[in-house]
Symmetry: C2
Subunit: 341 residues, 2 copies
């Protein structure tokens, strides 16, 4: 009742008095099988409750229909959206996803890559950890020709394709918006400067400032882990200064929200005294008061695009000329930065 042997192509071959190879062909719709035979095969297969043994098949075909995903952490709204998109595309194409978290540690990232390699994933979808400075730990994969697609936190590599947004432009727009609201003394809250996303957002900020004739002082960039705690600490530090900035462009929403809460507690008015802009369009941005102006950032689509790019590469349908896919972002203006109505 428990482990009655699985039925194989031989069983159905015997039942039909044909050879196993014909069954194998029929099952995968090979052109060299008569229609009637194919029909019969399909029919008895389902009648007998046949299910293909993927291990035998993989053993022969040397591919696994498995895609590995390595990212910093699962427990954020953005990454959840990304995975959700990946899962959809992958499943539709018959691939399975296996997921691993680097927790922003290079060591864990390397370990995950190694595990994925050993599991013989067909390809990899990666968003780099904050600690990662080079791609040496990917060499095992590159040597074997296993394709890697980076998403969001990317790094240039001749063998890799990327899916991302234009962080420079987004940073530029966020900052320009603050300037348009009359802010002059704007600071930027940045993340790990190993990562394109944070480097580019900062660059965008800087260029916007310069283009509008504003000064970028020494203290204008504050680096942190960009989480709730970091936001609190930074808020307290700012409150120590003689003069508060009149605009804050934060590298993500968590930090922006945390700062808003702390400043409000200290009696600072948002946006009258300080305008704040975040990044990500997390659900909290719509709940904090005042609602947070932020950059919307298509997580699900990013996951979908990265996955279909990888799958196309796997199937040889992707041009090697493709370097990166840039998705559209948008500035969502809400009360936290609206001085002028």
């Amino acid at each position: 009742m428990t482990t009655n042997r699985d039925i194989t192509i031989y069983d159905i071959a015997k039942a039909l008095n044909i050879s196993a190879s014909t069954v194998s062909r029929g099952l995968k719709n090979h052109p060299h099988v008569r229609k009637e035979v194919k029909q019969k095969i399909l029919l008895t297969a389902s009648k007998m409750g046949y299910q293909q043994n993927k291990f035998a098949s993989n053993l022969r075909q040397k591919h696994t229909l498995t895609i590995g995903v390595v990212l910093q952490t699962l427990d954020s709204y953005f990454t959840a959206k990304v995975i959700s998109g990946m899962e959809k595309i992958a499943n539709d194409a018959g691939y399975n996803l296996i997921i691993s978290q680097s927790q922003e540690s290079l060591k864990k990232e390397s370990a995950s890559i190694a595990t994925m390699f050993n599991t013989r994933v067909d390809g990899l979808l990666v968003s780099l950890s904050n600690e990662t400075r080079d791609l040496d730990h990917f060499n095992v994969l590159f040597k074997k020709g296993i394709p890697v697609v980076f998403f969001d936190r990317v790094m240039d590599h001749p063998k890799c394709k990327c899916v991302l947004i234009n962080n420079f432009k987004a940073g530029y727009e966020a900052t320009s918006h603050l300037i348009s609201q009359g802010c002059k003394n704007i600071i930027h809250l940045g993340g790990s400067q190993n990562r394109n996303v944070y480097v580019d957002r900062y660059k965008g900020y800087k260029h916007a400032m310069i283009d509008h004739g504003l000064e970028v002082g020494k203290k204008s960039l504050i680096l942190s882990d960009l989480n709730h705690t970091a936001g609190m600490t930074i808020a307290h530090e700012l409150l120590q200064e003689k003069k508060l900035p009149d605009g804050i462009f934060a590298g993500n929403d968590a930090t922006a929200v945390s700062i808003i809460c702390e400043l409000k507690k200290a009696g600072v008015r948002i946006p009258e005294d300080v305008c704040v802009v975040g990044f990500n369009d997390d659900p909290i941005s719509r709940v904090v008061e005042p609602n947070l102006t932020t950059i919307h950032y298509p997580g699900r689509e990013m996951g979908e695009m990265a996955t279909s790019t990888l799958i196309n590469t796997l199937k040889g349908k992707q041009s090697d000329l493709l370097n990166s896919i840039v998705l559209n972002h948008s500035l969502i203006i809400r009360e936290s930065s609206m001085r002028i109505k």
Copy 2:
């Protein structure tokens, strides 16, 4: 440079002038191999860059070291935490996770189960969709003896173990708290009554009301999908009535927060006019103003427990007598329900 053939146990057998079976034994630390030989095998294996071919191994051994996860949706803070916990335990034990989303649809849930079955997962971790009324679609698994562990949204079945919290008690506590703050006309916002989590929370609410001599009117239970939109709709409906309830116990935080925002827009004071309690301790509960009183609910631990229970079952280390594991929750009291300081 790309596809130089993988090295196999035969390669290392040849190199050492011993048989492949000995190598196989040595690699997995079989007792019937001389120590020195074992050493040599391990050494040359790593020197030659050997990696085991799991497909060949699985084909023989008939297990896959893969665990399937089926849940409603990935893009919520709670499920992200759960997955995060699962991923940790599974990886540590050498298992891989494959994940699929039911999107609250029975059809998709059934399809996921079927796919998982075909992928021959060793076991399954499942949180049931809102539409699911029975476990018929799990029969293929049960027949084959593939173990299933339910987490959070569970259903009783002689072959399945569950990991969950005491939703009845949590609902009872949440409601009692509202009563202790002077609320008398309390309503409950419930979810799908196919699901234990929502049924039990409602029961807890009802018992608390009755135990405190309060009436549970016909309109005291409002059923919905418990999302942002549902919260808005419900808020507007409530505002149409002549009299607002003085307490709301919502089945989750998203709905509670959405209601708070809408009521506030209409000039209702929280908690003076209406006290609100949510469920889940989502990040938004700490951002909404006033901060939301809610039930904290250990997602990561739930994922960890479910996974280790499954793995122990797989290894035959789990008593069949185990029925369910109940984790502790806690009531987090914040401003949204604090009338008495």
